[in-house]
């Protein structure tokens, strides 16, 4: 059978698949070029080569993905898989050995003399690349909902685990050989692992409704262990400095995280001898792959951020990178699990849905022109937030000409001009996106959590708690939010986290009201009554029936809250109440205002941050409004 015949059997016709393949390849190529370029805007030869390398890997991944869809012919697939695997392996080694820029990164010794460490580096790189390919392919399959034979899945699982273990061993060896903060890396990785492992454990335990007490007990034990390790680990740790070690340390951490996320839930289940309703192996495997992808993305973010220009920003940058990682792993997994719970194929328990399936939501969403516009804008801003510091040509805080008191208008050197002391506005703009976005999202989430808790408690338990909590909510609705934020910050003090905390604390009341109303109407439904009659406990009803049903409402409300939180953050920074060491759009405006940029017509200084804030707020409003229309058509607000 030749290839075209084989392709003919796929569900996806090769012609149809081609555009996806090309787009995917291009995207990866661009990202790879950016990685290699490290932000410089002139692209030399070697970066293009690196880009092509990245694209090749991506293309291979896609081909494997397509092959996986082939029917029944397991042997052939195995052959293909191994061929692809080997080809990748050799490409990686070949390319890594050839491109000077990669040598800078991946080799520990002079490029000319091939030593043990160099080989280890290549092997490690190859293993990592291979692992990425297979996991990416699998995750894509899973996301697209493609079906493969179980055998193939098992096979790939074996290969992936093999690759992971290989990479792990290599990295550990490397760490030992080079003595680059070996202990620290291991400790830090372990810390990550244990902290992160808590998520799947909690989820897996949450999903076993027969024994919630025991689940809680185990969760507590695990978190205690993680805390202890964190304390001891960080106590004896020094910061790892050079880029190379950071990459390896990041990779090691990522891989260990992935492995642990796969195995710890299994151990937890085995230890606590809970009989899970779902196959824990499947579940943990899925979560492991998500974690791996998330952790690898995190690794790259880490690598980039640590290469940031000035010391202040390096410190800050790694914090925000941690937040991004934290957000991704902690939110992605529960979110996906929840989504699966709501929309997935699980036959064990069908939850009555107030809305259609996720596909239907998207189907409606994409017809909303405003919504799509908002989404595109948001994606662009997220791109800036993640890659901005890499793309920034200058250090945003470093004065180019400390004596100068006159800002320069835009020129070919400074795209958006400079502010006083000739700091680059374009770089500040790129850095600022991250803070505005992170603060907005975190504060929005915080207020969503508070609002949901209050709303569900008030709505479900009713009576006294309802009355008390609703008076409390009314009280927070009445208090003018801006003065309250000002007062709170004046009392607590100014820092990044205080801003998030204060915004979250001030803005939860509307969510609580909306959620309560929704809970009240769901409580009337018959299946809740039946569930009570069957002997379900309160926690079961709340987590399995009430929460999933109000979830869509919470999502829409939260996105609107994020818009308001971004606004609040900009305002607080502008008011001079934000963290003074953090570059954000509000901070830029504050400085502009301080130096009377409006009066002096320094439009290039004011326009970028203003436009950034406006566009970001608008994006969230539009997305939130559209989702609101789709998810809860009856509850019209505003």
């Amino acid at each position: 059978m030749n290839i075209s015949q084989m392709l003919g059997k796929f569900k996806m016709k090769p012609l149809k698949a081609a555009p996806y393949l090309i787009i995917f390849t291009l995207v990866v190529a661009v990202i790879a070029i950016l990685v290699a370029g490290k932000g410089s805007l002139v692209i030399p030869e070697k970066q293009i080569v690196a880009g092509i390398f990245g694209a090749l890997i991506a293309a291979l991944a896609t081909i494997i993905l397509l092959l996986l869809k082939a029917p029944d012919n397991t042997q052939k697939i195995i052959v293909w898989l191994f061929t692809g695997y080997l080809v990748t392996f050799f490409i990686v080694i070949f390319v890594f050995a050839r491109i000077p820029i990669w040598e800078d990164y991946w080799t520990l010794v002079e490029p000319t003399t091939i030593q043990l460490e160099t080989v280890f580096n290549w092997v490690a790189a190859a293993f990592i690349a291979a692992a990425v390919i297979f996991v990416a392919a699998l995750v894509t399959m899973w996301i697209l909902g493609l079906k493969t034979q179980e055998k193939i899945q098992k096979l790939i699982l074996c290969i992936t685990i093999g690759a992971l273990v290989g990479a792990l061993v290599t990295i550990l060896l490397l760490v030992r050989e080079t003595a680059v903060g070996a202990q620290e890396s291991i400790l830090k990785s372990t810390y990550w692992v244990l902290v992160l492992a808590l998520v799947p454990i909690e989820i897996s335990l949450m999903r076993m409704p027969n024994n919630p007490q025991r689940g809680i007990l185990w969760t507590i034990i695990f978190s205690l262990v993680a805390t202890l390790i964190t304390i001891f680990g960080f106590a004896s740790m020094e910061e790892v400095e050079d880029a190379q070690s950071i990459i390896f340390y990041g990779a090691a951490a990522a891989l260990i995280v992935a492995l642990t996320m796969t195995f710890i839930p299994l151990f937890a289940v085995w230890f606590s001898s809970i009989k899970p309703r779902f196959d824990p192996r499947k579940m943990s495997w899925r979560m492991g792959s998500i974690a791996l992808v998330a952790a690898l993305i995190a690794l790259f973010i880490f690598a980039w951020i640590e290469a940031a220009p000035s010391q202040k920003l390096v410190l800050y940058g790694s914090t925000s990178a941690f937040i991004i990682v934290f957000l991704m792993i902690y939110l992605l997994i529960p979110f996906i699990e929840l989504m699966r719970n709501l929309f997935g194929r699980s036959k064990a328990e069908k939850i009555e849905l107030t809305i259609g399936k996720s596909k239907d939501v998207w189907g409606q969403y994409k017809h909303s022109r405003f919504g799509m516009f908002g989404l595109i804008v948001l994606i662009i801003v997220i791109f800036i937030a993640v890659f901005g510091p890499t793309l920034a040509p200058e250090d945003p805080l470093e004065p180019k000409d400390p004596g100068s008191q006159l800002p320069q208008p835009p020129s070919s050197e400074y795209w958006f001009g400079t502010d006083f002391e000739d700091k680059d506005v374009w770089s500040q703009f790129l850095w600022g996106a991250r803070i505005s976005l992170i603060v907005g999202i975190l504060a929005g989430l915080l207020s969503a959590v508070i609002g949901t808790t209050v709303g569900i408690t008030a709505g479900y338990f009713g009576r006294v708690s309802d009355e008390v909590l609703m008076r409390f909510t009314d009280f927070f609705l009445v208090i003018p939010w801006l003065p309250l934020m000002i007062v709170l910050i004046a009392i607590i003090g100014r820092s990044f986290w205080v801003v998030i905390f204060v915004i979250g604390i001030v803005s939860w009341a509307p969510t609580a009201r909306v959620v309560r109303a929704a809970v009240l109407s769901i409580k009337q439904k018959q299946y809740i009554e039946r569930s009570i009659a069957l002997g379900s406990g309160t926690s079961h009803i709340v987590t399995r029936h009430i929460f999933p049903n109000v979830f869509p409402i919470i999502v829409a409300t939260t996105i609107l809250l994020v818009a308001e939180a971004i606004f609040s953050e900009a305002f607080l920074d502008f008011f001079g109440l934000g963290d003074p060491n953090v570059v954000s759009w509000g901070w830029m405006l504050e400085r502009a205002h301080e130096y009377n940029a409006m009066v002096n017509w320094y439009w290039w200084w004011i326009t970028p941050p203003s436009l950034g804030i406006i566009v970001l707020i608008m994006a969230f409003y539009l997305i939130g409004d559209t989702l609101d229309d789709i998810l809860n058509p009856r509850l019209k607000r505003r």
Binding site: F370, R471, D474, F475, L477, V478, I479, P480, W481, L482, P483, L484, I486, V487, L488, A490, I491, A563, F567, A570, F571, F574, F575, L577, L589, H593, M598, V599, W601, W603, I606, S610, I613, I614, I617, M618, Y621, L622, K636, R638
Partner: protein, 329 residues
């Protein structure tokens, strides 16, 4: 709860009780908010190196040498009798209730004019847009309104200052009146006040104006699909009459509720507008108090701002009840 329609008197009584409870909560909150700081708050007020005698004197002056609960009861009593304590830094040893009146007037003026303007224009714009639903005018104005709604008020203020400085030199945008205000005659005074208030009021009004216009539009569009509108059309009434006499009164109901909810937002907005334009109202005073760590003053400002919103909400509730016979509780 029995589904029986409450009379105006019962409604008022009930709302008043809630108002009172919330007021009490706010005062309590306001008291403890400034007492939960770790350590003795008095030391936050002083630069290091203040003599114990000075500290003791101030403690006594502020009443902070009493036990916490005594302080609390004294605070509640004082607040209800209009004694807001004494300023610490801003105008040392002056009773706050003597400082506040001019500031309150300015804030009420600013937000009052802003609210009225934004409601008035918002309703007109929303109505005209809803009337031309689906036409080019509607699309353009609605998109503009969404964009305008996304722009924070302080950005408007910055933008206006930029434009005015560039193109209308000599336009005042600092303070509420000119320096030589005392020498003017009555017309010049009115002109001076309006000239100074123009930009702040526009900045306060414009964001909520867009929001109100969008609400009025969607509410009107909902109403226009009702059967009685069709009936009115069938009777051959002029289009404008249908809009004004049949559609508007009903479309107005949800708008009132939303406007009530937004009063707090607008008042919050004046804080930043006052800060940017150095318009000496409550918001500006809040800012001064934060800068000077003048906690008694900050406390008083915050209390007044909260009460303003509370009262505005109360009025809106009553108005809503009056307009909408379906409202319960």
């Amino acid at each position: 709860m029995a589904e029986k329609k409450l009379g105006m008197r019962d409604f008022l009584l009930r709302k008043l009780i809630y108002l009172f409870i919330t007021l009490f909560l706010i005062i309590t909150f306001n008291f403890f908010l400034f007492r939960v700081m770790p350590g003795d708050p008095i030391y936050l007020l002083f630069p290091k190196g203040a003599t114990p005698e000075v500290i003791a004197e101030w403690k006594h002056l502020l009443g902070w040498d009493q036990p916490l609960f005594t302080q609390y009861f004294v605070y509640v009593k004082d607040t209800f009798t209009g004694d807001l304590g004494i300023s610490f830094k801003y105008l040392p040893r002056t009773p706050i209730s003597d400082i506040l009146p001019p500031y309150i007037t300015k804030t009420l003026f600013l937000s009052g004019v802003g609210v009225v303007l934004s409601i008035f224009l918002g309703v007109i714009v929303g109505r005209e847009v809803a009337w031309r639903k689906g036409k080019m005018f509607d699309k353009v104005v609605t998109t503009t309104a969404i964009i305008m709604y996304s722009i924070p008020a302080f950005l408007y203020a910055l933008f206006f200052i930029m434009i005015f400085v560039k193109f209308i030199p000599g336009w005042p945008f600092w303070g509420a009146v000119s320096d030589n205000f005392g020498d003017m005659n009555i017309f010049e005074k009115i002109f001076d006040i309006s000239q100074h208030a123009f930009l702040p009021v526009i900045s306060v009004a414009i964001e909520s104006l867009a929001g109100f216009a969008l609400i009025v539009r969607s509410s009107l569009i909902d109403v226009m699909t009702e059967d009685y509108i069709l009936t009115a059309e069938a009777k051959g009434l002029p289009d404008r009459d249908i809009l004004k006499k049949h559609a508007m009164p009903n479309a107005f109901l949800p708008v009132v509720a939303v406007i009530a909810f937004n009063v707090g937002w607008i008042l919050g907005g004046t804080v930043m507008i006052e800060y940017i334009f150095t318009y000496k109202g409550l918001g500006y005073l809040t800012w001064e108090a934060v800068l000077g760590y003048d906690y008694p003053l900050l406390q008083a400002c915050f209390l007044l701002e909260t009460i303003t919103v509370l009262v505005a909400n109360f009025i809106a509730d009553i108005l809503n009840f009056y307009l909408d016979p379906r409202v319960e509780i």
